[in-house]
Symmetry: C2
Subunit: 252 residues, 2 copies
C-alpha cells in the first residue's frame, strides 16, 4: 500500500484539485462564452467554487487536521483569492463547519446510500460495515476517515465545530445501531441484546483499523476489524454463510 | 465532567506548568545559593528545563496536536527563550521526538508500572486495562490519550515522528497481547484463541471511549468499553467474579 506515502497523498490531492479546478474553469468558460445561459450565473459559479473549495478542505482536513482549514490556506490550495473564499464562507469557523457538512454528504453518498440498496436487516448491516471499510481503505478522503481525523483534532476544543463533528458521529452511531436493531427485529440476529453496545464496538474496530492502516501503510487491520465484527455477529446468532463471506473479504 | 471545558483544560495546563516552573526555579535557586553542589550543575539545570518543556509539550500535543509543538510555541508556553529551547532540542522534529519519548515514559509510569504490581495473568491484564481507562479519564495529558492524538495528527504524514508514534503503539499492543497470552498460559483464559486479536479489540474499545469522553464531556463510553472487554473475557473463560468486578467499576 503506497497511498500512505506523503508524496502520493499530495499527488492524489493535487490530482483531485486539478480535476475540480478544470470543472470550475470549464463552467466559467462556458458562462463567459455564453454557451450556457443561467437564470443566476453568479450563483452557479459560486456553487462550483464552493464544491472545489470544500473538496480541497475535506482532503486537507483529513491529512493535516481540520484546524488547518483556514481561508488563507484553502484559497492558496484551490488557487483562488482570499477575498473570493472569504466572500463565500465568511470566517474560518464557517468554512470549517461547511467542510464538516460537505464531508457528511460525501460519507452518506459513499457509505449509507449504497448500503440502502440492500434489503433491511443483516444484509444491509453487512453492506454498511463493508462500505465503511471501503471508505477508509480507498481513501475517499486523502487522509482516511474525515471524521476520525476531525474528532481527534477538535475533541479537546469546545465550540461549534466540535459540536458538528460530534453530531455527525452520533448520527452514524445511531444509524448503525438502528440497522442492527432491524436485523434483530427481523429475527436475523436473535441473540443481539444491545444494538447500541454492538454499534459502539463495531465503530471502535473500524476506526482503529482506519488508523492502523494509515499509520503502518498496511491493510491487515481491516482483517482484524472484520474478524472482530464477524465473531460478535456470529455470537448474536447471525447466518453463518453471510458472516463467513463478510469475514473472508480481502482488503488487499 | 467539566475537564473537557477549554477554560478548565487551559487552567489545568497552566497549573501543571506553574508547578513545574516552581520546581525548576527552586532547583535553580538552590544551585545559585550553593546549597546543592552538583558535579555538573549545567547539565542538571538542562534536565529540569527539559522536564518542564516536555511536560508542556505533551499537554499541548494532546490538546492541539503534536504538529503544533514547535520551538517557538513551546518557548512561549514555558516562558523560556527560543534560543534556550533550541539549544536543548535543536529542531522542531527533535523536540517532537523527545515529546513522544517523554509521553511514553509517562504512560509507562501511569499504566504499565502499577499493573506490574499485580500478579501475572488475568489480574495483571485487568489492572492494565483499568489503569488505561484511568489514564484517559483522569486526563494525565490535558487532551486525553497522548498517543491517540499524536497518531491522528501524524498518521498521514510519513517521517520519523510518525514512526516513533507507531512504534510506541506497537509496543503497547504487544505488551497487552503478551499479558493476555500469559493469562491464557496460566489457564485463566482457557478459551482465548488469539491474544493479538483480543489486544486489537481492547485497544479499539479503549480508544473510542477516550475520544467519546473528550468529545461529549461524558464518561459513559468507558462503561461501554468495560462491557465490551468484559464480555470478550467472559467468552474466553475468565473467572466470572473478577470480570464482574472489572465491568462494574464506575468511571464517574
Amino acid at each position: 500500500m503506497n497511498t500512505n506515502d506523503r508524496a502520493l497523498s499530495i499527488r492524489t490531492f493535487v490530482r483531485k484539485l486539478q480535476a475540480m479546478t478544470d470543472e470550475l474553469l470549464t463552467s466559467a468558460v462556458k458562462d463567459a462564452a455564453g454557451t450556457t445561459v443561467h437564470a443566476d450565473g453568479r450563483r452557479l459559479r459560486g456553487d462550483a467554487s464552493r464544491r472545489v473549495i470544500l473538496a480541497a478542505a475535506g482532503d486537507l482536513a483529513s491529512v493535516e487536521g481540520l484546524d488547518q482549514v483556514s481561508i488563507g490556506r484553502i484559497a492558496q490550495a484551490a488557487g483562488l483569492s482570499k477575498s473570493n473564499v472569504a466572500t463565500l464562507f465568511g470566517s474560518k469557523e464557517r468554512l470549517q463547519l461547511a467542510t464538516v457538512e460537505a464531508a457528511r454528504e460525501r460519507f452518506i453518498e459513499t457509505v449509507i446510500e449504497p448500503a440502502r440498496a440492500h434489503p433491511r436487516g443483516l444484509a444491509r448491516t453487512l453492506a454498511l460495515l463493508d462500505r465503511w471499510i471501503g471508505y477508509s481503505r480507498d481513501r475517499v478522503f486523502a487522509g482516511g476517515c474525515f471524521f476520525a481525523a476531525a474528532a481527534a483534532d477538535f475533541d479537546a476544543k469546545p465550540g461549534e465545530v466540535r459540536d458538528a463533528v460530534a453530531a455527525m458521529l452520533r448520527e452514524w452511531g445511531r444509524y448503525l445501531a438502528a440497522t442492527l436493531q432491524h436485523a434483530h427485529d427481523l429475527g436475523e440476529l436473535p441473540e443481539l441484546d444491545d444494538a447500541k453496545q454492538a454499534a459502539f464496538e463495531f465503530s471502535a474496530l473500524l476506526e482503529l483499523a482506519n488508523r492502523d492502516s494509515l499509520l503502518t501503510g498496511r491493510n491487515s487491520s481491516y482483517r482484524r476489524a472484520r474478524a472482530g465484527i464477524a465473531s460478535r455477529l456470529r455470537a448474536a446468532g447471525a447466518d453463518a454463510a453471510a458472516i463467513d463471506a463478510f469475514g473472508a473479504v480481502s482488503d488487499g
